[in-house]
């Protein structure tokens, strides 16, 4: 038996750089805003402190997922963050893996998963 067959729950495709919760938030914000987001918008959308957002952006930038440009707008420095082309591709693949993981687990959980869905649905949604 091949080693890979025996470890169906090792989830090796779930890149730790993208899987970390705060970075997952940053990447999701950016995939929803293809033109990029300012540092302050990102900070607010992800509810991160300046220090935390800087640290996570650095990790994402070093991994080639995010590009950061600095420019002046109305005489003020403006930092814009965008997914790189390959970052977008890799993040969508990561999301497709997550989708598969959820689908596999949902299948085994049957109706209980439907109930969990109902419980987490936003009241107004």
């Amino acid at each position: 038996m091949k080693k890979t067959d025996t470890a169906p729950f090792a989830y090796e495709g779930l890149d730790r750089v993208m899987h970390e919760k705060a970075r997952l938030g940053v990447l999701s914000s950016l995939v929803a805003h293809p033109k990029g987001l300012s540092f302050s918008d990102l900070k607010q959308m992800c509810r991160l402190s300046d220090g935390n957002l800087s640290r996570h952006l650095q990790v994402l930038q070093e991994a080639g997922l995010v590009e950061i440009t600095k420019a002046f707008e109305a005489n003020r420095p403006q930092t814009t963050c965008r997914l790189t082309r390959s970052g977008r591709k890799r993040f969508l693949e990561y999301l497709a893996l997550l989708e598969q993981l959820v689908r596999d687990a949902a299948e085994t959980a049957g109706e209980d998963f439907g109930q969990a869905r109902t419980r987490i649905a936003p009241a107004g949604g």
Copy 2:
């Protein structure tokens, strides 16, 4: 504007105990095996070392997600791990949140997400 409205990507429901990659693997294995799994089966399915699995199981047990029972089988000690009732419920809610996160991102990514799905699909699947 309420603070919660401004941080749509903070993902506060994504419990860090369950979100950690190795523990996500352990929980997914256990949700697929309601009768529980032995320590050695879990270790193999998640491709973890004894030390790592022990450490993660302890975190999951302390969080009330997993219960661990020790018994003798054929004169050998056998450790069995199971999701607790509330652990199963909480893990399914976590998965429902992940599903929502993927769905939201997939919507904004459009056709590119379909292509990512195709790329990650197992060759034999």
